[in-house]
């Protein structure tokens, strides 16, 4: 075999933001990045998304917050976070040194919340804003904005007006028509899209004869949902011309390659990073290895070929 292959190029341009590689740690599964430091240097990542931030601090949901399912994890955290102000003041200065793209994931309950929160956080040194209109675990707001294309367009348009950083909109797999929402967000000015957030599911404790979660339903993530996430990533990629960041059940470098073949510009890793802290590091290495083995020089050679 030929031996003088060059190392594959993993660099990704995400609407102007240059990422070292396409591997981004997903919101809510990576804290604010500090938790990973004992395990590896976060600078190796393409980037990471912060835990969902809201205008005001939120305590999150009470009761059980996690339930494992076959090859999956259900969660009902409920956007527990210290609020944008505390994030920008106390946390961001500490994590800026990581030398990787910081994407602020922003949640909300009202249109005004979203606009104010995105404006506020976009004035800071974060590299990008990920607008979470797809959280299934908050009663008023969150997912409601990601369900209807018109409502999604409205919130994106409003946020976009004052958001000073590239705006990535995170879509909900629970939308009746995720492609329609994607198109509406693109038209409303989104710079990029990310998908999927968790899928609404139900767990029942048959012995106690009640739902496991206080909110009854909760969001399903992990390897179980990968085929569904991959299908949606392809559907949305084919429908829009802005970059799409795919996620849902990614565990390996080959999973990452599959999402890129389905059209993703970059990918995010959530649940698999909870299973093992060094997962993202391993996925980057595996993706490089896969590309070398299969003689793929850069991601654009395989992006969207399916």
């Amino acid at each position: 075999m030929e031996e003088n292959k060059t190392t594959p190029n993993l660099v990704v341009d995400l609407c102007g933001l240059s990422l070292k590689n396409p591997v981004i740690a997903a919101s809510g599964t990576f804290g604010f990045g500090e938790e990973i430091e004992p395990f590896y240097d976060p600078s190796i990542l393409g980037g990471f998304c912060t835990k969902g931030l809201t205008r005001r601090p939120r305590p999150g949901n009470s009761g059980i917050r996690l339930q494992e399912t076959r090859a999956g994890l259900m969660n009902s955290i409920g956007l527990q976070n210290p609020g944008i102000e505390a994030f920008v003041r106390d946390i961001l200065p500490r994590i800026r040194r990581f030398g990787t793209a910081i994407i602020a994931n922003v949640g909300g309950e009202t249109m005004e919340d979203y606009v104010a929160a995105c404006y506020e956080v976009s004035k800071s040194s974060v590299d990008m804003v990920e607008l979470n209109i797809s959280c299934p675990n908050v009663k008023h707001g969150g997912m409601a904005f990601g369900i209807d294309p018109d409502v999604a367009a409205k919130v994106v348009r409003s946020v976009k007006r004052s958001c000073r950083k590239p705006l990535m909109v995170k879509l909900s797999p629970n939308a009746p028509d995720i492609v329609a929402v994607a198109r509406a967000c693109e038209k409303a000015g989104a710079d990029a899209l990310s998908l999927i957030n968790t899928i609404s599911g139900l767990a029942i404790d048959v012995h106690a004869r009640r739902p496991v979660f206080a909110n009854v339903t909760a969001g399903l993530s992990g390897p179980a949902i990968k085929p569904i996430a991959l299908r949606m990533t392809r559907d949305v990629s084919k429908a829009v011309s802005i970059p799409v960041v795919g996620m849902g059940g990614i565990e390996t470098g080959e999973d990452a390659a599959a999402f890129i073949m389905a059209g993703a510009a970059a990918i995010q890793v959530g649940t698999a990073g909870l299973v093992r802290p060094d997962t993202c590091q391993r996925i980057i290495a595996e993706l490089l290895e896969f590309m070398s083995r299969e003689d793929i020089g850069s991601l654009s050679e395989i992006r969207g070929i399916i």
């Binding site: 999150g60 955290i77 990073g273």
Partner: protein, 281 residues
């Protein structure tokens, strides 16, 4: 705190449904990242001599835990187990087989690889505990108390150390702790050994300077309340469902006087008065 590959040295049932697992982090595995498909070629049993030294890799606080994952694909998530002993390159766990995760751990055989992340969390502040001390264990809550008792027994500022252990019926783990405590009191729910009843029936906190407790929530709550009445300092080790064990997912939070706290990094050991059992008080 590190995530590394270990090898199962011994995994033995010590009472019905209760197992003791020792794992070894050695030069041969310390550098490995992946769970190999078949066993690693390490079968030697390190003589478990815990009198001598502490864990070789970093200081371990009693009450800290490791997240353990076997080669089994299911369950997805690792499981938290408290440090029962730690010495040299060996960590020992005492655990009860309950669901899928502990069953996968129970299936480990000598030589099998285990992925372990730890030591995680905050344990009992050994240097900060003084005088007459009571350890209160409910069931498998006794797991961290062997290492805790050994560490406390070395502290010159401890004047007496009483172990108060409650079980449903079968006793276990006591003989490992006996060498390090001045007294052991036992209660069983069915009266088959010791006093019939609950741990709270056989200890009054007043004579103690500190009470350290680990066990089911109702027990911790009762211990907290009686310590409060007696004015005795009380520390409790709390359980919560965990996904990451390193503070990244917020899945393990409990409600405390200072708001939500993550059991995996802010605990599992908390001052009892901090913890709002039942979400409020």
């Amino acid at each position: 705190m590190k995530s590394d590959l270990y090898v199962a040295l011994e995994n033995r049932q010590i009472a019905p449904g209760i197992m003791r697992l020792s794992i070894q982090r050695s030069e041969a595995t310390g550098g490995m990242r992946e769970l190999p498909e078949r066993e690693i070629g390490i079968k030697r049993k390190t003589p478990l001599n815990f009198e001598a030294e502490d864990w070789a890799y970093s200081p371990v606080e009693p009450g800290q835990f490791f997240m353990l994952k076997t080669r089994a694909v299911e369950p997805l998530l690792p499981r938290p187990l408290s440090v029962h002993e730690a010495s040299g390159d060996v960590v020992v766990f005492l655990y009860q087989t309950r669901g899928a995760g502990t069953k996968a751990i129970a299936a480990l055989e000598t030589g099998d690889p285990v992925l372990a992340t730890g030591p995680c969390g905050r344990g009992f502040p050994v240097d900060d505990i003084t005088g007459r001390v009571a350890l209160i264990a409910g069931g498998i809550g006794i797991a961290p108390f062997r290492y805790l008792a050994r560490r406390l027994s070395k502290s010159p500022s401890i004047s007496s150390l009483v172990l108060v252990a409650g079980f449903r019926s079968m006793l276990f783990g006591l003989e490992d702790i006996a060498p390090f405590v001045t007294e052991i009191r036992v209660a069983t729910e069915d009266g088959s050994a010791g006093t019939k009843g609950f741990v709270t029936d056989i200890i009054a906190p007043a004579p103690f300077d500190a009470v350290l407790a680990c066990g089911p929530i109702p027990m911790l709550k009762a211990v907290k309340d009686s310590c409060k009445s007696a004015g005795t300092r009380c520390l409790v080790s709390v359980e919560a469902r965990m996904a990451c064990g390193i503070g990244a997912c917020l899945g393990c939070t409990i409600n405390t006087r200072s708001g939500n706290r993550r059991v995996c990094v802010d605990g599992p050991v908390f001052p009892a008065e901090e913890v709002l059992f039942d979400g409020g008080e």
